[in-house]
Amino acid sequence: MGRVSELMDELTVCGHLAAARVRSEMQYRLSFALQIVGTFGFYTIYFLSIFILFGHFETMGGWRVGEIAFLFGLAGLSFGIAHMVAGGFASFSDLIVRGEFDRVLLRPVGAILQVIATGVQLRNLGDVLQGMVVLGVALRLVAIDWTLGRLLYFPVVVLSIALLFVSLFALQATLCFWTTEATEVANAFTYGGRDLARYPIHIFDGWLRRLFLFVIPVGLVVYAPSLYLLDKTDPLDLPTWTRFVAPVAGLAFALLAGAAWRLGVRHYRSTGT
């Protein structure tokens, strides 16, 4: 019982922190509105670009425009959720550089919860909305056979992708315990992973594909389940069961990221500023 009420206390504190964060985000009203429009538009132009390309090409690696749109929507929606939750990890280097992480460690609330709560980015609601719109368009272009299995698996896939990307952002943040200079390298995996998730993974060459299938399992949470949802054949001939391991892959990667984070916190020495 003690542990439960302790957790409730932690969550209440984090709720207050998150609310304060959202209020500060909305301080400049016009700017905030423009940012939502901006994030929405950002993904819209990427999607528009694909449509422009498909004005000249019939298929990409055997996938039609509606199927690519499905990947765009699925990846966009899920990444948007992750980006909204994990904004604190994405900008974690600022926290370290300014020495504010010391304050986080001093509070009697878990560090991960605090970083998440103080970094919530409501403006990334734009991505989430955009992902939904693109999914809507995709579903008009491809007819999915919504069996019960597919209907139940779809939300699981969305959450698995979101979990994977939150974990990737957490790993990026963990890197900051050692260096704050090279975080741009991590962008290749977070934002690069997002971009890669929008295409059928078999179009990528050997090392890139293997990296994003087996090391950072973006392919296992987006591509493989989409083969099942869209009922596509797989030129890679991955075993059929790989289409159903999205939640396992997401959870395993999250556990890995959590372990790395704890290692990082133990390694952390304040800059003293």
């Binding site: 940012q35 901006g38 819209t44």
Partner: protein
């Protein structure tokens, strides 16, 4: 003039200092280059032949050239002036006996020269090493690319300068910044070459300055466009945006005076 050269030189040296960021940036640009190259390769594999005037090697050249341009032409924004406005430091710069616009242009050209060496060339070399690119055989074409790149930076600077000045009115630049990135990404031809655009949309891009930042230099490199008219369009936008910037600056300065600094 010597003052501005000195400003550019100092800015060049300042940007030379970020070594780790340079290597990290090269890595990131390259990963995205590989990724987008794979997308174009997959598209061309399914449909042989030229598309919208682009062969596959030309499309791949576009991919690596556009990745190379990101930092060089500061496509995704640059908010040093806006930050100086927010903190109030801008007042000191405005009082100094030099052209405020000329001072920042010199700084930006120094920055771009540094990024040309540290970011643009290496990124493009990575593409050239690993991909079959359509590179010009005539040295004259390479020679034409040089002024086109300089003009691309000047046009990009004019646009960024105006955006930065908006901080005098809006204070917070993040909103404007997120809109600006997507406008540039799309209308400059960074995401998809403008030749692929449907005619109506193409007509819109012809009326905007952004193709002078990305598409025109690349079209010159690929030999898809006569050099002189292309440079003419870039020059036109460089001058037009400089004049616009001057007008916006003048009205911003009046505002500062009214506020009493």
């Amino acid at each position: 003039m010597r003052l501005y050269l000195e400003v550019a030189r100092l800015s060049f040296r300042r940007h030379l200092a970020y070594r780790a960021a340079t290597i990290a940036g090269l890595f990131t640009n390259s990963v995205f280059g590989v990724l987008i190259a794979a997308v174009f390769t997959a598209l061309y594999r399914d449909r042989a032949g030229d598309v919208a005037g682009f062969s596959l090697p030309e499309a791949l050249t576009f991919v690596w050239a556009s990745q190379s341009l990101i930092t060089f032409a500061a496509l995704w924004g640059w908010w040093e002036i806006a930050t100086a406005i927010k903190t109030g430091d801008v007042v000191a710069d405005l009082m100094k006996p030099f052209s405020f616009q000329g001072y920042w242009l010199s700084r930006d050209l120094g920055r771009a020269a540094c990024h040309f060496l540290l970011r643009m060339l290496p990124t493009f070399l990575v593409g050239g090493l690993f991909y079959d690119l359509a590179l010009p055989r005539s040295p004259l074409t390479w020679l034409a690319v040089a002024p086109s790149l300089v003009l691309a930076v000047v046009v990009s600077f004019g646009w960024r300068f105006v955006l930065n000045l908006s901080a005098f009115w809006l204070l917070d630049h993040r909103g404007i910044s997120s809109i600006a990135v997507l406008v540039v990404n799309f209308f400059s031809g960074f995401l998809v070459p403008l030749a692929f655009f449907p005619p109506e949309l193409r007509a819109v891009t012809n009326l905007l300055p952004f193709r002078a930042i990305v598409m025109l230099p690349i079209e010159i490199l690929l030999g898809q466009r006569a050099v002189a008219p292309a440079l003419g369009i870039q020059l036109f936008w460089a001058v037009a945006l400089a004049l616009l910037a001057q007008a916006v600056l003048a009205s911003a300065v009046r505002k500062v005076v009214i506020q009493g600094g």
